[in-house]
Every structure is written in C-alpha cells, then in structure tokens.
C-alpha cells in the first residue's frame, strides 16, 4: 500500500511538471466543450420551404400558416405545379416542398385521414432527417388542432395515424440541441483525455528507459499498475467535475438525476478506459504508436456511440458492435441521468455491462504487462 503511495506521489509530480501536458489536461477540454457544443448541433435553421396548394381551402392555408409560424422554415413561395417545384428543388432554390392535394380538407373531414406529399432535398442526409423531423413535428401539432377544432363534431376523437414523430424528439420538444449535445461531449472529453494520457504514460517510461529500472525493483505488477493508473483516474473524475460545472454555468444544462449516481458510474467507467490505455501501452514501444492506436479506437467509439448518429439507424451488424463500445453506455447514462433523471435501477443494465467490461479490460492489461523482456 505504501509503495503504491510513492508511485502515485511521483506520478502526480511528473504530470504537473510536464509543461506540455498541463494545457492538454485542463485548457483543451474547456475549449472543446465550449466550441464543440456550439458547433456540433443537429439544428437546421432557415430551411427554404415552398408549397404547392391544390386544395385552396382554409385548412390547407392553416397548414401553410403553421410552417410560416415556425422559426425553422422560411416560407419562400408557392408553386403552381409540381414540375416547377421539382425544377426549383433541383437548382437548390428550395429544400423542402410540401404538396397539398385536391380535396385535402374534404378527405380530412370525411375520411378522418388525408395524404400529404413532402419532398426533401436529401443530399445532406443528416439535414434531411432533421428537416423531416421538423415537418412531422409541425404536422402533428396541426393534427391535434384539426382534431379539436374541425372534427369536434364527431362523437369520439379519432386518432390520426397518418403522421408519426421520430423518437429522438420526445425529450427535445424545445429543440434545444445543446441540452442534448453537451452531456455527450462531456463523455467524449473524459474518455479521450484519460485514454490518451494513460496510454502514453507507461510507453513514455519505456521510451526514456526508466521502465527498465522499475522492472529490476521488487515492486509488484499490481502495485505499479495501480500507482500508475490512479492519478489518471483522479484526473478523469476531475475532468467530469470541470465539465459538469461548465455545462451548468455556460449552457445551463438541467441536472434532473443524482450527481452522486453519475459520479459512481463514471468512477467505474474510467476504469474501462484506463485498462484500455494500459493494454495499448503494453503492446507499443513508442508514444507515437500508442497515440495512433488510441486514436483508432476513439474514432470508432465516438462515431458508433450514438452521439452523432443514432444507433437505431445503423445496420444490424454495426448495432451489435456498439454493444462493445463503452462510450455508448456512458453517453446513454449521462443523458439518462442528467436529462431524464434516471435512478440507480434504471441504469443497472449499463452499469453491469460496464463493470464486466472494466474487469475484462484490466484483467487483460495486468495479464499482458510483463516485468520481463
């Protein structure tokens, strides 16, 4: 135990003396959180919207008015025919075209259902998805209005199933993406920095040659590893704290659930990352190699974490892979706890998986660490 203390002491001194490392640990995360949270947003504004109204009724005009009222759509023009609209779409003059067919009002009143046609420029798939979401959102509100205002003569309200909203909007009715993104980016920072730092640390001693000196001392493998990793565990927790404070202070992100629960989960999650870092450094000879390998995993983990692209829309095999992605669990937990106020039992499935992951990672890392050459 005392031996571990000496190593921890030494590590902290070295970390805080490394002039190149300090800004990486403390300044970069702050910048990243502020920049990425503002830049990495799904929000699509000023959508160029046009419509073709074949119906010319008060209902159709009311529907167009809904789009007009939305801050996301710029209602540019109405086209007399579909051909002209298509040509405009092709030239990129409009992004979204809504076609209201003849007898829209009549069908809605009589048959309780009506068809609409929406054409979206989907060159930018992500933007198109978001636009589709906005359109659906507006149609759904419109639907409710129709139910209450126009069809209130019918005996019981008819659930219109013509329009569905996509699930990711359920917790984002305000459409404030920062609420959604900031916790995700927080996860990213904690993960990236702890993985890089821990991955490069032991390799650095390998490079300088001091590791050989350590290997000829009677120090035990476990003592050395715990002593080496503990400081980075502390730094990881520190990063979480900085991130949470910034999230509250700058972005006013809600904290619905228990902070203690979040910390408890993170404390286990960081173990996964540290184990991974150690494993990387066991199999590399230079900091450069370690960095590249760490990057390889980080990029895959981030892109497959559900942070930027919903996991539900990935192919089956990819979804299966995400099961092995620790970042995915952390993203889920952070959003669940911070935004939905999830409790201990809610996060239990992810907690178990993370613990298992941590055990496997660290087991492998300790097993593959060699005091001999």
């Amino acid at each position: 135990m005392k031996t571990i203390g000496y190593i921890i002491q030494k590590e902290f001194k070295q970390i805080f003396r490394n002039k190149g490392m300090l800004p990486i640990i403390f300044i970069l995360p702050i910048l990243q959180l502020v920049i990425l949270s503002n830049a990495a947003t799904y929000e699509v504004k000023n959508i160029k919207f046009a419509y073709i109204d074949y119906d010319h009724t008060s209902t159709s005009r009311a529907l167009v008015e809904k789009f007009n009222a939305s801050s996301y759509f710029n209602v540019l023009t109405d086209f007399p025919s579909q051909e002209i609209a298509s040509a405009a779409l092709l030239r990129g003059e409009v992004d979204v075209v809504l076609e209201i067919p003849n007898n829209f009002e009549r069908n809605l009143l009589k048959e309780k259902t009506a068809d609409l046609s929406i054409t979206i420029n989907a060159i930018d798939g992500a933007a198109a998805g978001v636009e589709n979401g906005y359109v659906n959102q507006i149609l759904q509100t419109f639907n409710k209005d129709v139910k209450t205002n126009i069809i209130d003569t019918s005996k019981k309200p008819v659930q219109s199933v013509a329009i569905e909203s996509i699930p990711s909007f359920w917790y984002n009715t305000t459409l404030d993406y920062k609420t959604f993104m900031v916790p995700g980016i927080l996860v990213l920072l904690v993960t990236m920095i702890t993985l890089f730092l821990s991955g490069m640390n032991i390799v650095r001693e390998k490079e300088i040659g001091t590791l050989e000196q350590i290997n000829v001392t009677p120090i035990r493998k476990s003592q050395f590893i715990i002593g080496k990793l503990f400081p980075f565990w502390v730094i990881g927790m520190g990063l979480l704290t900085i991130g949470l404070i910034l999230a509250k202070a700058i972005f006013n992100i809600p904290m619905e659930g228990s902070i203690a629960l979040l910390y408890a989960y993170t404390s286990i999650y960081i173990l996964v990352i540290l184990g991974m870092g150690l494993l990387i450094s066991n199999f590399t000879d230079t900091q450069q190699q370690a960095m590249f390998i760490a990057w390889f995993f980080i990029v895959i983990f981030i892109l497959m974490s559900g942070l930027f692209t919903p996991i539900e829309s990935m192919p089956k095999w990819a979804q299966l892979i995400t099961e092995f992605n620790p970042i995915k669990y952390f993203v889920e937990i952070v959003r669940m706890v911070m935004l939905k106020g999830a409790g201990f039992t809610d996060i239990l499935p992810q907690l178990w998986k993370t613990m298992l992951y941590a055990a496997i990672m660290n087991g492998l890392a300790v097993w593959s660490y060699r005091k001999t050459i």
Binding site: K2, T3, G5, Y6, I7, Q9, K10, K13, Q14, R17, N18, I208, G209, T210, E212, Q213, I214, N215, V216, T217, P218, I219, R220, K371, T372, I373
Partner: protein, 258 residues
C-alpha cells in the same frame, strides 16, 4: 552459499530463434568482489546480465543470484540487487530528493529510514545546495554518482552497473570508482558490464565475452601476463581477433540492445 559465491552461473544460455546470444556461460562471483563483465557490442553481455537481474528468462542452464534461482525466484533476486544503467537510471523530471524518496519507497524502506538515508547521501555527495533541483539539470557526472548511491539505498548484496562511467570527466570518474571501492569494501558485490577497457582495469576479476561465450576469465594482471600485453585494451583486441577488413564477420547485426 558455501564459498560465499553471490552469483553462480552454470551453462547459462539464451537463444533468440536460431541465434544464440549467450552460449552456455559458467562463472562465479564472490562476495565483495568487483567483477568486470566485458565484451564488444553484440557479444551477448547485456543479454547475459538481463538474465541475472531477473528480467529475462534463460533458455537453458542454471544460475543463482544472491542465493536465488533465476527461473523461479526473480522477484527475490530483485529485492537483493541494485541496478544502474548508463543512461537512464533516475527520473530527470524529479528532484534529487524526490528521486531518493521514490526509489527508497518502492524498495519498501520506512519513512524514517528514507529520511535518514536521504540526508546522509546528500551530505556525502555534497549535494546540499542542489537537493531540490531537477535531476535533469545536473551535470552527467553528478547524475551518475547519485544514481549509484540510489542503487545502494536498500543495502543490496549485489549492484549491477551497465557501462557506468562512459563520457564522464576523469576526475568525477575517479570519485565514482572510489565509491565503488567503498561499497565493495563494505561487502557489496559489484558486477560491471562494459566495453570500455580502461574500466576493466579497475576490476578484481574480469570475464571477456566473444560471440556469446566467455573466452577469458581472470584478474586483469594475469590476463595481461597471459597475453603478454600492457593493457586490458590489448587483451581485448587479441581475444576479439580483428576480422580482416575485406571479410567482415557474418553477424553484422547488433543484437545487444545497448
């Protein structure tokens, strides 16, 4: 240990695939002896030493260091030896004091003992004024003397020195050897690996490795008599048999990692 042999190697061998780096070497080192382990780059001396200090498993043969078996008790060996390599023994980004404390700590010395040793060592080396300076900022000679003292902190039975005085100025080098004599006089065995033949002259006994085998083992004086030359350098040149310039030896690869 009947004859007080602190190192006993018997037919010790290490092979890397087809290549035999250390070829069945046998020797003993007595307590308090300064033993020089010489050889050219690639002769296998570093590989042999790594087996003795418990960081490399032998392929065949037997060896005991401080009474412990190199196969089954490498961690016990490590408790009883000190090690100082030429270049990287200490942490450059820790101060003199911090290095002493750290290494004292990982060898399991008590806090009180560490404090005592630290004060003693700093005053012996005359480092009072710079004990809070980073080791990286010290001149090479001081670093080496400090590294040697640190390797003695836990009172090891044997200290392994890997080319300890390369590039150090002549006076500091003498001070270094005085420290080695002192340690040997107090019963610590010194095992020096080097290819600087003038370092070899200071040793009680030396072995010379050529292509994985020990080709000579005796006191420097007797070796010089045996080969009828004036210096260990000439002994070495005779043993290593300079290859003909037009026909270099087949193994041009540097298999020693130094």
């Amino acid at each position: 240990m009947k004859e007080e042999n602190v190192i006993e190697a018997d037919q010790l061998t290490k092979t890397f695939g087809e290549f035999t780096a250390v070829n069945a070497i046998s020797f003993e080192v007595k307590k308090g002896e300064i033993f020089g382990f010489l050889g050219a780059n690639g002769a296998g001396k570093t590989t042999a030493m790594k087996m003795l200090i418990g960081i490399s498993k032998p392929s065949a043969g037997k060896a005991a260091v401080a009474g412990f078996d190199v196969y089954s008790q490498p961690e016990s060996i490590k408790k009883n030896i000190g090690y100082m390599s030429q270049r990287f023994a200490l942490y450059d980004d820790l101060t003199v004091k911090e290095n002493i404390t750290f290494f004292g700590g990982i060898y399991g010395l008590s806090r009180k003992k560490i404090r005592e040793k630290r004060e003693q060592l700093i005053s012996e080396l005359g480092l009072e004024n710079i004990s809070n300076k980073l080791v990286g900022s010290l001149p090479l000679g001081w670093k080496q003397k400090l590294a040697f003292s640190v390797s003695l902190l836990h009172g090891p039975k044997i200290v392994f020195l890997d080319e300890p005085t390369g590039g150090v100025d002549p006076i500091t080098r003498r001070h270094f050897w005085e420290m080695i004599y002192k340690a040997a006089d107090q019963g610590t065995t010194i095992f020096v690996t080097t290819h600087y033949m003038d370092e070899a002259e200071y040793c009680d006994r030396v072995s010379i490795m050529v292509e994985g085998k020990i080709e000579a083992l005796d006191t420097p004086k007797k070796l010089k008599e045996q080969f009828k030359v004036d210096s260990m350098n000439d002994v070495f040149l005779k043993l290593a048999r300079i290859p003909s310039p037009t026909l270099p030896k087949g193994k041009g690869e540097n298999t020693d990692c130094n």
